[in-house]
């Protein structure tokens, strides 16, 4: 019988499989997707948020545990578990040599992402290169991999894992690691979670999914129904405002719109709804998905003028351009009169200052609601340009509750042979909000723990069998 069955094929699953195999266990990894789509959301990632006390190969300065913890505390608003969070943070400082030994290459921050040079180690080639490296290493070490094998349900007996079922196929194993992702690609579930708003809309109908179409949450739902302890709110997710023209799935990084802080954002009623210059964009991009989700029609438009061009990352789709603001309003099919009122009120409220996009500058509005507190320059230089944005879900936070062993729990009692890692339990650390690279830190830390725990549990079961 297989020692360790791994359900899933992304970063956390691969970390678990590799750790278990290295501990001497026989490992079978079941990936729901075909080979060319393997890796789940990990194929869209690009870095790992790393604690370090001194400069390292690709990381400058230091990013001590306490600062990392405070950053996490801030973005989650306290919706985190300090013990598990600190475990992840510490693991992030020691896991990279292991990753490198499995073929992952690191590089310094990408151009245009220099703000993360201190905190995040980038994967050369991005997450798909990392996933490829792990699959190659898994192949070399003798991990068996089956693609096109989504698991529908498990056979459980008194909180113990017995077997996994994929259609008519049954995979029995001594232990199991669940790392099959969140439920972001399950539209029905998203609809159910978000419900109907006061306008009678189903907001989730207008969400785009930034990642894989294979994260349908089938196993997560099964485990919840089977009575596993859960954590988190089903509406909480890593959710950013992305180009409304992005594909429904797998739009990934390139559908981001990075000019929000350089202009204004209006909703379908041509009204502003939030301070676009509240803070640096890297610290704010993760709130804009929810902000747009709360707007009518779940759509908004990021408006800039010629002064912003060349100052933000080039978007993948061309914007709508016009030589005048009324023309832009018409091109966007927005109420022209209302649009001009909004823009004129904003332009009139901009106070003179010294524009500096690299600092929290003194260009702000006065007497405007909502105000724009930094980088507020009048939008007055043609050509004008607009990008439509919608909520883009990266991954959901509702997950299975764990302790530091990554064991699945039933009414507070840990399972002896069923473990969970990655998005299926990230909500333990990340109850809401997001900060770049922390998803991979959680997936790597808990993937490795789950793999080691599963291998140890398989050995224990082996001994019991022999003794009996």
């Amino acid at each position: 019988m297989i020692d360790v069955l791994v359900a899933g094929g992304g970063n956390a699953a691969l970390c678990a499989a590799l750790m278990a195999r290295e501990a001497g266990a026989s490992v079978l990894l079941l990936e729901a997707s075909p080979r060319e789509w393997r890796g789940g959301n990990s194929q869209h990632t690009r870095n790992l948020r790393c604690m370090h006390d001194a400069p390292q190969d690709v990381l400058v300065d230091a990013y001590p545990e306490e600062e990392y913890w405070q950053d996490l505390l801030k973005v989650t608003g306290g919706a985190t578990d300090e013990k598990l969070a600190r475990l992840v943070i510490r693991a992030s400082s020691t896991c990279r040599p292991w990753m490198i030994s499995h073929g992952v290459h690191f590089q310094p921050s990408l151009s245009g992402a220099l703000h993360t040079a201190r905190t995040n180690a980038f994967f050369m080639g991005g997450g798909k290169a990392l996933v490829n490296a792990y699959y190659r290493s898994a192949g070399r070490l003798g991990v068996e991999v089956h693609y096109d094998t989504p698991i529908d349900r498990l056979e459980l007996r008194d909180g113990r894992f017995v077997a996994a079922l994929s259609g008519s196929r049954r995979f029995a194993a001594k232990t199991c690691v669940l790392a099959a992702g969140g439920f972001e690609s399950n539209r029905e579930w998203l609809r159910e979670a978000w419900g109907v708003n006061a306008r009678g809309e189903w907001p989730a109908d207008n969400f785009l999914i930034r990642g894989t179409r294979f994260n349908t949450g089938t196993l997560l739902r099964f485990m919840i129904d089977a009575g596993a302890d859960t954590i988190g709110d089903p509406t909480q997710a890593h959710m950013v405002a992305i180009d409304a023209r992005a594909p429904l799935y797998d739009g990934g990084i390139c559908t981001r719109i990075d000019c929000v802080s350089l202009g204004v954002v209006v909703n379908r009623d041509a009204e502003r709804f939030y301070d676009e210059g509240e803070d640096f964009w890297p610290k704010r991009y993760a709130i804009w998905g929810r902000l747009v989700a709360q707007q009518p029609g779940q759509i908004a438009y990021s408006i800039i003028d010629a002064k912003a061009v060349g100052r933000f990352m080039p978007p993948v789709f061309p914007g709508t351009t016009a030589q005048s603001l009324p023309e832009l309003a018409r091109a966007l099919a927005l109420d022209e009169r209302r649009f001009m009122q909004t823009l004129e009120a904003y332009n009139a409220a901009c106070r003179p200052g010294t524009f500096d996009h690299t600092a929290l500058d003194d260009c702000r509005t006065e007497g405007l609601t909502p105000s724009k507190t930094h980088w507020a320059l009048p939008i007055d230089t043609p050509p004008f340009c607009a990008y439509p944005v919608r909520p883009g879900v990266t991954f959901t936070y509702l997950g299975l509750k764990v302790d530091e062993t990554a064991a699945v729990r039933f009414s507070g009692k840990p399972s002896p042979n069923l473990f969970v890692a990655g998005e299926m339990m990230a909500g333990n650390v990340l109850g809401k909000g997001y900060t770049a690279g922390v998803g991979m830190s959680i997936g790597t830390a808990f993937g490795r723990i789950a793999g080691a725990q599963a291998a140890a549990a398989a050995r224990a079961i082996q001994r019991e069998t022999v003794d009996a």
Binding site: S111, H115, N132, P247, D250, G310, T321
Partner: protein, 388 residues
């Protein structure tokens, strides 16, 4: 400020979705792909193409031509690409670049009309080889030399006197150098990168000599049949490339011996021309055989299938040139000398004659592109992008 305005205009033209009319469909495809890459940038660490891309917001014909020739077709960015097929964005940088690259060989060829020789390059090389062979066989016959049998005295020169060989090869070789030089100069001028410094020149030369951009950025090498990195292509290319340089050096040294020292061929096995020639010839055989085998096994998505005859034809000609030279040396004292000599000289002549119209030209345009990059990256960027 002026620069920024110009940039804004360029970008405005770009966001308006206008494609410069002069672009071919393959160039437009590269521009489309780079627009996606420029919004992603995950591959920045692999090679020079992506850092060069990030200095631009829009991709016109000249940018596309430059970046296509800067691409070494290592394959790393395809295997790492989250937008590669079956993704609907259908991003395949190596293949789209390869398709443009051959178009640039056609377009920058001199005389321009001969650029069409790239269209059916296998045929071009075969015809060149057949004609060259016929030339030497006919010449040998016309000079009443023996078709088979050891010449009495004087070795090669008894069949083809030194001056005759110089008269045949020098014009063809000089023409090839001229044609390649004009192509390279036109390619250099299409978009001036900036002033050339010694540092830039040295860096570009080192990148070319070491095939730096086949190292994957992490020094594990490039991709062949799958997402694994190996040094094989780099190593075999080095054998072929440096083998060629050794053979060329052998010829130069021999010329020097002949004219400056008054020592005509043949030379002994331990003489400098012979040693250079042996090392070079053996290297070229190893290199061309290795590259040919890798080409056969290459992941199909890296390729432009239309270029197989150009790639494989060139490797075959390289192999024939080197192998016939080595065999000729070994068969120097046998009756097979005359036909072997005709074969070798025919191969060398075909190689030289097609240099500006064969895969050989890739080295020239790649070299220019590397120099452009070394120059360009020393210029301050016109952009002040902050992500996020």
């Amino acid at each position: 400020m002026h620069d920024l305005e110009r940039l804004a205009q360029e970008a405005a033209a770009n966001v308006g979705g206008t494609t410069p009319a002069a672009m071919t469909p393959n160039e437009a495809e590269v521009a489309r792909v780079l627009q996606i890459c420029n919004a992603c940038r995950y591959c920045e660490g692999f090679c020079a193409v992506f850092p060069a891309m990030t200095r631009r917001l829009a991709f016109g014909k000249n940018d596309v031509n430059y970046l296509a020739n800067l691409c070494h077709n290592c394959g790393a960015c395809l295997h790492a690409c989250q937008y590669a097929p079956p993704h609907e964005f259908m991003v395949n940088v190596p293949q789209s670049m390869a398709k443009v690259r051959v178009e640039t060989y056609v377009e920058y060829a001199w005389p321009r009309a001969l650029g069409t020789l790239y269209r059916r390059n296998g045929v071009t090389l075969s015809v060149a080889l057949a004609l060259s062979l016929a030339l030497f066989l006919l010449l040998a016959a016309a000079r009443n030399g023996p078709a088979w049998g050891e010449p009495a005295q004087g070795g090669f020169y008894a069949i083809f006197p030194h001056n005759l060989m110089v008269a045949l090869f020098a014009p063809v070789f000089l023409f090839a150098i001229l044609a390649l030089g004009i192509g390279a100069a036109r390619f250099w001028r299409n978009e001036r990168a900036g002033p050339v410094s010694g540092a830039a020149l040295g860096e570009a030369a080192a990148a070319a000599a070491t095939l730096k951009y086949l190292d994957g950025g992490h020094r594990d090498g490039c991709n062949d049949e799958d997402d694994r990195f190996t040094q094989r292509r780099r190593v075999f290319h080095q054998f072929a490339f440096h083998g060629f340089l050794f053979c060329f050096a052998a010829t130069c040294v021999a010329t020097l011996y002949h004219y400056a020292l008054g020592q005509p061929a043949p030379y002994g096995f331990l003489s400098l021309p012979k040693l250079l020639g042996i090392v070079g010839g053996v290297s070229m055989v190893i290199g061309s055989l290795g590259l040919f085998r890798l080409n056969l096994r290459r992941h199909p998505a890296h390729h432009d299938p239309a270029q197989r005859s150009m790639d494989r034809g060139f490797m075959a000609l390289l192999l024939l040139t080197a192998a016939s030279g080595l065999v000729l040396m070994l068969a120097h004292d046998t009756a097979a000398l005359p036909p072997l000599l005709c074969l070798h000289l025919g191969a060398v002549m075909a190689f030289f004659a097609t240099m500006p119209y064969s895969k050989f030209a890739h080295g020239v345009y790649r070299g220019v592109a590397l120099l452009k990059w070394s120059v360009e990256r020393r210029q301050p960027s016109r952009l002040q992008l902050t992500e996020d």
